[in-house]
């Protein structure tokens, strides 16, 4: 009994700042303006505006997860061929650590300064006849946001996938070669199958990363709320109609549900991965 006292502060803290907020979202999503049980908030998710925001978010996250995973995996393999502890490796992993974490406002500014209306690339391209400033492509979820999100997805992929690539033992390749296997055979029958669960797992992680991101889009987009985190933000920051505030909670619950499904898949894959790449 006395031993339990030792974890009491931790449990109290996480209850107040983690479990209670989670319950507020879950319960609030099922209550109406008079605190009566209702499914009205959840069915409000079918409103065209909200449904399309969910749709945009899922597509944006899936596309950038795929792009980030492919390019990030290439980069991870390229880096893994460099000397361990060498300057290139250290530079790239630290740089990726920052770029993966530091999305948000900085990233939005960087892209505005580069391909925004007055961006230097925009001005250059104008000289050779390509007009980027003619439309609002940078602020649309199916064009500019994909580009911007990929910028923080690739570094995250490097960070989560590099350990898996490093787990490939040179002996496996030598074994494949001594049995007469070509490079293609090695990748198709040895490295590919071993890396596949990590690759898919990392891609799922990238999906939730993009799906949860709020800051980048908030700093970039000033008109409208094309993706679901911005929709939720809108229900918090503006004066909403009475009884509507719980729709924000329903949207939040919807996000948690999607992330939970993806993270469960991730956990299953993770268990498979550690079987081979036990470190």
């Amino acid at each position: 009994m006395g031993a339990l006292l030792g974890v009491l502060p931790f449990l109290a803290y996480t209850t107040i700042f983690l479990l209670v907020p989670t319950l507020i979202v879950v319960i609030g999503a099922c209550l109406d303006g008079n605190n009566r049980l209702t499914l009205g908030n959840l069915s409000a998710l079918a409103q065209p505006q909200i449904a399309s925001a969910f749709m945009h978010s899922v597509v944006l996250s899936a596309v950038t997860a795929l792009l980030g995973a492919v390019f990030g995996a290439l980069l991870a393999y390229a880096v893994s061929t460099a000397r361990e502890g060498g300057p290139l490796r250290r530079m790239i992993t630290s740089l990726c650590g920052v770029l993966a974490q530091f999305g948000g406002v900085t990233l939005a500014f960087a892209f505005i300064a580069t391909v925004g209306f007055q961006g230097f690339l925009t001005l250059w391209l104008q000289k050779i006849g390509i007009d980027l400033a003619g439309s609002t492509w940078l602020f649309e979820p199916d064009k500019g946001l994909i580009l911007v999100y990929t910028y923080f997805q690739i570094p995250l992929m490097l960070i989560v996938f590099l350990p898996a690539v490093e787990g490939l033992r040179p002996q496996w390749r030598e074994a494949a070669e001594s049995l007469g296997g070509s490079t293609w055979h090695y990748w198709r029958h040895v490295a590919g199958p071993i890396l596949a669960p990590s690759f898919i797992g990392a891609m799922l992680l990238l999906f939730t990363n993009a799906f949860s991101a709020y800051a980048t889009a908030a700093a970039l987009i000033s008109q409208g709320s094309p993706i679901i985190p911005l929709q939720i933000g809108g229900t918090l920051s503006s004066e909403v109609i009475l009884g509507q505030e719980n729709i924000g909670k329903a949207m939040a619950l919807g996000m948690v549900a999607i992330v939970a499904v993806v993270m469960t898949l991730y956990a299953v894959l993770e268990r498979r991965t550690t079987r081979w790449l036990g470190r």
Binding site: G6, V7, I92, T106, S212, A215, K249, A252
Partner: protein
């Protein structure tokens, strides 16, 4: 042998092409920021924006929001790291020593924020923060309570790796049998043995807190990123310069951290 040399050459070419092309993609937006912040009004280059950014007196007088944001973020970094360490290190040690049955629960709670996006946490935290404001006032510093939750998964993993690498039980029992009290065990036995893990948990927290925007913005509190975002409406060039400076600072912190991690790895417990 010849095969190896040929493969190594191919790998080198592959590495240069991939790192070169992706490097360009990553460099362009950063270059864009440098270019944008050095534009002179009539064309040409000037460092005036950067001179302003590093001139404490000018910032103090003309851009008070930036000063407030920097100070708030500095305070948040200290408070977040302190709460995180004071809460997690003793709890995790205690659970290993006395309550191994609770280890799964603690792990589950610590990793839970990974499935709860910050924007969702904001929705649920709004009523909680109404109480925080009622009891403690409106200060931006109290955002640290939420930030501890955000860093929980990363800090947990770093500290868990550190505690797994040492024999907590034997160390603690040895100290106890020599008459040490629990505070001494924590402070003089456990902490020095997991200092690398403590450092990496702290560095991760610093990077996360310096970049945090979502919660501060939606609760209308001040921090560095919120200040930079507000400043952008008034002086885009200075805001971009401040954002780039913060990015460089975070890079330096993480680069330093990569050396700390390397120091630990050079003495691996088991290597085959």
């Amino acid at each position: 042998m010849k095969l190896h040399a040929a493969r190594r050459r191919k790998q080198t070419i592959f590495r240069r092409v991939v790192v070169g092309l992706l490097g360009l993609f990553f460099a362009l937006p950063l270059l864009g920021m440098v270019e944008f912040t050095t534009r002179a009004p009539g064309g040409g280059r000037t460092l005036a924006t950067w001179a302003t950014l590093f001139d404490v007196n000018v910032i103090d007088a003309d851009y008070p929001e930036l000063k407030t944001g920097v100070l708030a973020s500095a305070g948040l970094v200290v408070l977040t790291v302190t709460i995180m360490l004071v809460m997690l290190v003793p709890t995790m040690t205690w659970v290993r020593l006395r309550l191994p049955g609770l280890r799964r629960t603690v792990e589950f709670v610590c990793l839970l924020p990974l499935t709860i996006p910050a924007i969702v946490l904001v929705v649920g935290l709004a009523p909680v923060y109404a109480w925080v404001a009622y009891f403690l006032g409106e200060s931006s510093l109290w955002l640290a309570f939420a930030y501890v939750v955000l860093v929980l998964p990363y800090a947990y993993r770093a500290l868990d790796a550190g505690l797994s690498a040492i024999d907590v039980k034997t160390l603690a029992e040895a100290a106890r049998s020599l008459g040490a009290g629990w505070p001494t065990v924590m402070w003089q036995i456990i902490l020095p043995n997991v200092r690398t893990a403590v450092l990496s948990a702290s560095f991760l927290s610093v990077a996360l807190v310096l970049g945090e925007f979502t919660i501060a913005n939606l609760f209308s509190r001040d921090n560095l990123q919120v200040a930079i975002n507000q400043l952008n409406k008034r002086d885009a060039s200075l805001a971009t310069a401040a954002a780039l400076a913060a990015l460089v600072l975070a890079f330096i912190v993480l680069f330093a951290m990569s050396f700390v991690g390397a120091g630990r790895r050079s003495h691996p417990p088991e290597e085959n």
